[in-house]
Subunit: 174 residues, 2 copies
């Protein structure tokens, strides 16, 4: 499966496309950061983010989109822009009927590093190792977007195995 | 001028269209609330809101859009959905090149009632009087959207008069 991970943000919106399945090596398809200037009005910035995401959905045709779940307790000065950007990301995917999953930062850190409190450098280092890259993706938003996509493939795979096991055992309702 | 006021929200998104100019009676064109079920996934709810706003932009062709400015200090349980809905509203307007203004709740209350701390009932009563309606628009989100549109016309008109006076006096740079 091919997953687009989106680390939403108004100033930097990370996008990472990863392909693969659980138990097999994952492959980096593409990674990028949409940047918008803080000198522009917010509506224009959101339209730029929408256009950037739409372009990637057209180009990479992912099977699913994973977006970082934003919490109100995050940094107050940036959380509204982050929430707005995450809303745009969700709408872009939902308009196309793509499955969308929201993963918390803790889930992502735990999935890629085994430690829900890993720092940015640890997450970046694990993404670099998992995708067998020559260098750590920069900036951190790019690495975070890839980590989201990796998390989605691994969690989705685990869920798919559980579902299959449940189905093989006769279904949920027994 | 014709203004679409949007009181963003995930469960109830108020939309009100008002036409008029400063110093003349304002006219209610239409008012509605987009409702989305909390049982649906957030991305689907945001797409419904986008479709509802798009339909009104098509139908009412406003000259400007006024959106309530959302603050991170608002109710934490709903603020993320409100921020996401406001982002959708801004993108819908910006894609069409429409002027967008953000007004704070305090600005709106002060504009329609003369009191920045007016409660919902006072705002609703003033909207009813200003637009010469037979009954108060319900729910409060509908009245708030109309109050936003009224605020925008009145503030915009005042700004236009100041700009004209400055221009008549020889411009800003003298």
């Amino acid at each position: 499966m091919r997953v687009l991970g989106i680390d939403p943000g108004l100033t930097r919106c990370g996008m990472g496309v990863v392909e693969g399945d659980v138990g097999r090596p994952l492959k980096l398809i593409d990674v990028n950061v949409i940047r918008t200037s803080s000198h522009l009005p917010v509506p224009e910035r959101l339209v730029s983010i929408e256009q950037g995401i739409e372009a990637w959905l057209d180009e990479h045709r992912p099977d699913a989109v994973a977006v970082e779940r934003v919490f109100a307790r995050a940094d107050v000065s940036t959380v509204m822009g982050t929430a707005q950007a995450s809303g745009i990301a969700m709408v872009c995917a939902a308009r196309r009927g793509l499955p969308i999953a929201l993963h918390t930062p803790t889930e992502v850190k735990a999935a890629v590093s085994g430690n829900g409190r890993a720092d940015k450098a640890q997450v970046g280092a694990m993404v670099t190792r998992i995708l067998r890259l020559d260098a750590m993706p920069k900036p951190a938003d790019a690495a975070d977007a890839l980590a989201l996509a990796i998390t989605h493939i691994w969690r989705g795979g685990a869920q798919a195995r559980i579902d299959a096991a449940v189905a093989a055992a006769g279904g949920v309702c027994r």
